[in-house]
Symmetry: C2
Subunit: 328 residues, 2 copies
Amino acid sequence: MARPPRIDNLQYCNWSEKIFRQMRQGGLDAVHATIAYHESFREMVLNIERWNRWFERFPESIFPGRMADDVRAARATGRTAIFFGLQTPSCIEDDIGLVEILHTLGVRFMQLTYNNQSLLATGCYENEDAGITRMGKQAISEMNRVGLVIDMSHSAERSTLEAIELSARPIAITHANPASWAPARRNKSDAALKALAGRGGMLGFSLYPHHLKDGSACTLESFCAMVARTAELIGDAHIGIGSDLCQDQPDSVVEWMRMGRWSKETDYGEGSKHQAGFPEPPSWFRDNRDFGNIEEGLRQVGFDAAGVARIMGGNWLSFYEKSFGRLT
Amino acid sequence: MARPPRIDNLQYCNWSEKIFRQMRQGGLDAVHATIAYHESFREMVLNIERWNRWFERFPESIFPGRMADDVRAARATGRTAIFFGLQTPSCIEDDIGLVEILHTLGVRFMQLTYNNQSLLATGCYENEDAGITRMGKQAISEMNRVGLVIDMSHSAERSTLEAIELSARPIAITHANPASWAPARRNKSDAALKALAGRGGMLGFSLYPHHLKDGSACTLESFCAMVARTAELIGDAHIGIGSDLCQDQPDSVVEWMRMGRWSKETDYGEGSKHQAGFPEPPSWFRDNRDFGNIEEGLRQVGFDAAGVARIMGGNWLSFYEKSFGRLT
């Protein structure tokens, strides 16, 4: 490869031809796209159908990513490979057999929880965290078998630590930052990050303002210095980007993300009554064309070319290599 | 290949380890297995989940067939590749996007009707046949695009002829015989068979007694002489086996096949009140180990080695080659 791969391992945009073109303008070879937050299996299939129509309409920009080699195919053809992921286990309902079906349909990441208690584990907004459930253990084992990556981004501490421990394969926290830098419920303790990396797992740094120090006012320098400190903490082989970019989304979508159908009362999640909608993105990361800013920022805080390349995509590509196939 | 491939292009057995072993004993490199008759999409997914468990439990006997090369992989490893098919369009419900989802899940054949009127076309037991519907035309076009083969085995005459004409790719009648030999509603007119072959389509000869002259008493000689006459009618490049073998099935299953949930009154389909269950198979074709009898019978009626090889699997393999990929 002439230049190193560039991968954003989490986005949930209001997808459009414009955004697909901007992905390529931003040099992205692969994007892990969230396709469900609270959906049932059948509703998730409808979302895949929407993606299939985008793949059919915009083949010059995007195509379905299935295995690590698709990242190379994307680079070779000047396109972006889209890898599907779920921020919820609701799509497997109470049916363990759906884990393999999801993988066949191209899903490559699945969170065991989304903020709340699920059938599998505890989410980061619950008061009590009882850890991985009986079905959760079965799901971890089956996800390991078929090559569906466990993502604990929205999980509570004990559940996160147990998933890392129980999983026979490295897991991911696709979009979060160290809580020691920005103490949000969604950010992760140093203990969890060390355990994650200790088992070969990956952390994707989030650019979502609620996960950033100083929120929307967070500076590129502060963000990149945090990346450097995290590299000191857990090494530079286990970190990448998972921007959580929600480009062009109307505020109705953040309501769906937070509340799905589980509550009649308004839940503001990481927001508040006075800041109920999507937060303003930082000035240096407004859309898919801004990945060059992050790359430059990483150089400024002292990463060498090899380190920058690993963080901007090389580490995720290595993780894809070992994660998406059957356990042999 | 040392010996020619052997393919049975339709079975619906009460699957078990015994039957999977018998497939190999019968020399079968590939079987097209029906996975739904009246099921909704979600119910069909449950049936795929059952198959996934069989694939996991019996990897020495069977594996999922996706493309023609899997037939060669089966031969190379002494196993049988299982290709999924639907005898119904009920699994796409009213959602054209499910056609591509089915293909992603490994489905390679879909009937546009099962005896009754469907959203797509007319079945062979209706009194009126209005031909391919508006959605039927959309489905044919989409099935052509993704590589899902149109199967008109249970369709009425006009619908069958229109599907052959409308489809941009060759279609199949996976399990039926010439009505000129055995005048069952499920068997096909010479006109339909000629139209089918004229567009490159395939006929799979059925061994189901209700499709045979003299039913369960049909002789191997009579069956093979019928194959020879069909080869004279439409050539020997467009015929193969689609046995409709329903090995070890209890009679409750034929009730489901005939009635699904569409009727409160008993419908005997091809049977009758006095012969309501599965008919007795012919003495020379009782299970998956009996394909050698058919091969020998074809030799006896005058087919040379190359002709026998084409009918026993070579023609289906060629058809798989050109049918299961995307339309380019």
